[in-house]
């Protein structure tokens, strides 16, 4: 295996609705900043991979026009996943492992505000039996939250605590959208959005973009003082039909975590992509994280949830902390599909 590290990252400050700029205009400064920080000349970057979803824009092949932000001339080696950018990073990592590239630019963008997110996410469901029922992403998450609360000792108060802690942590994150001090009792006095979930249990709708540069071996060592080495990365998926899964736990996260080597050392920081409060608790249990790990110091998806961006952002947040020298080992998690159907775990370390 080649040693592969994240050498630079850049993010757009998440907003509820980007009124002026289109996706290309949002993405361009983020990509330029990540490439510049890497110190690797743009023409030397061996591979480019992006993650986005055309349903967010309602435009087929929207991801192709996003290449206008990159400058694909002379022609570049490029790929795209119709998924969160975390999976684009996985593809880039594989590409570097095969020896076909020594460095890669990975980016994702999501203008979630353009459509109705719960309805757009309905379209990822089985098109014969489930999608036509009109079930939206929040209702499905509420089904999962109910199953989780019934099966475990956790309560709605525990869910609200996740929201309070996340948005408090987000005060230190300049790229967060929803940050502040919230009163636990006041939150619990709010009406249900979809029982047992209240508004504070759900991630905001966000527009955002993120980019990271990966490099292997000496290319990484030359690019940056403290590269964030990817010492383990794995992703696992569960059945598409939520009815055949036990929604109260996340075996795919547990397996991906085991394969990525989470338990072979301490985890100082875990950035978990949990767009609903109860999902953070499910993920913590699946990964065996205890009080010694700081969870979502960035505020996580509850502070900013640009769809297709928030997973790669988790990886960038952990990588930043390693580059800053504030931690030595952390994990990032990304999810895709309804109710944590597919999960990616990435362990990052200083060396």
């Amino acid at each position: 295996m080649r040693d592969v590290a994240i050498v630079s990252t850049a993010q757009m400050t998440n907003v509820r609705r980007e009124q002026r700029r289109n996706e290309v205009e949002m993405l361009m400064p983020v990509v330029q900043e990540a490439v510049k920080r890497s110190g690797i000349p743009k023409g030397d970057i061996g591979f480019t991979c992006s993650g986005s979803c055309d349903y967010l824009a309602g435009q087929p092949f929207a991801f192709v026009s996003a290449l206008d932000a990159i400058g694909a001339w002379p022609p570049i080696s490029e790929s795209h996943v119709e998924m969160d950018g975390a999976w684009a990073l996985y593809e880039a990592w594989v590409k570097i492992q095969t020896g076909q590239a020594d460095s890669a630019l990975v980016y994702s963008f999501g203008k979630s505000s353009m459509g109705d997110v719960p309805d757009v996410l309905n379209l990822q469901l089985d098109p014969y039996y489930l999608s036509p029922l009109g079930i939206d992403s929040i209702s499905l998450a509420a089904l999962q939250a109910r199953a989780f609360l019934e099966k475990t000792q956790y309560t709605e108060r525990d869910l609200a605590k996740v929201a309070v802690r996340s948005r408090k942590s987000a005060k230190d994150n300049p790229n967060a959208q929803l940050a502040g001090d919230f009163d636990l009792e006041k939150l619990l006095a709010e009406p249900y959005l979809v029982s047992p979930l209240r508004v504070h249990d759900c991630a905001p709708i966000s527009d955002g973009a993120v980019a990271v540069v990966l490099a292997a071996d000496d290319t990484a060592r030359n690019a940056c003082e403290r590269p964030a080495w990817i010492t383990g990365i794995d992703h696992r998926i569960e059945p598409h039909q939520p009815g055949v899964r036990d929604l109260s736990e996340s075996p795919s996260t547990a397996l991906a975590g085991a394969k990525a080597g989470v338990a072979s050392g301490g985890i100082e920081v875990a950035e978990l992509y949990a767009p609903f409060t109860h999902q953070e608790l499910i993920l913590r249990d699946a990964l065996g994280l205890d009080a010694s790990t700081s969870i979502n110091p960035s505020g996580g998806a509850l502070a900013a949830n640009a769809i297709m961006v928030a997973g790669l952002t988790r990886i960038a947040e952990v990588a930043n902390r390693i580059q800053w020298g504030s931690i030595g080992r952390g994990l990032a998690h990304a999810t895709s599909g309804p109710c944590l159907q597919q999960n990616l775990v990435c362990v990052l370390e200083a060396k």
Binding site: V24, M28, D68, S113, G115
Partner: protein, 166 residues
């Protein structure tokens, strides 16, 4: 087909409707506002100096913002064209008609437009044309502010002048 097969459900209908609030973007907004004023606004790349009309805010070759605005005239050259013989519901025009790639004077990217006020047999590569706008009171922030292009009485542009824009 056996009897059992004939009883298979062949298809189902699942109606679907999604609404989007589209953001044209900073560059396209400038261009569309220009259309409402009867002006054609492009943007120049600071690196390769190519002029994009309509602008998209970035140079697709260089990957940098094209933030230098330039106004170009409504005159240009047909770089390539086709004769359309298929009727279209979205066009209020009877076939055959000509759709052409037009390189406006001072621009580096051709765009599609209709050619009118001449027989389709007369259209040729290198032909000089000009924009015909809607009446002033009908101008709006839309590409439809230009109705079509028509020939102008000028000698054809030499092939060398547009060969890299084909």
């Amino acid at each position: 087909m056996s009897e059992a097969e004939s009883e298979l459900v062949q298809s189902i209908t699942t109606p679907l409707r999604l609404e989007y609030q589209y953001t044209a973007g900073v560059a396209s907004t400038r261009f569309l506002r220009g259309m409402a004023d009867g002006k054609i606004l492009g943007q120049r790349c600071p690196q390769c100096e190519k002029v994009y009309v309509p602008p998209r805010g970035s140079c697709a070759r260089c990957g940098v913002a094209t933030d230098l605005e330039v106004q170009v005239p409504g005159t240009g050259t047909i770089t390539t064209f086709c004769v359309v013989r298929i009727p279209s519901d979205s066009l209020d025009i009877d076939p055959p008609f000509v759709a052409a790639h037009i390189l406006l004077d001072g621009a580096d990217i051709p765009f599609f437009a209709l050619i009118q006020e001449c027989h389709f047999d007369e259209v040729r590569m290198g032909m000089r044309v000009e924009a015909v706008w809607v009446d002033a009171e009908d101008l709006g922030p839309t590409f439809e502010s230009i109705r079509y292009f028509r020939p102008i009485d000028e000698p054809d542009a030499p092939f060398e002048s547009y060969k890299e824009h084909l």
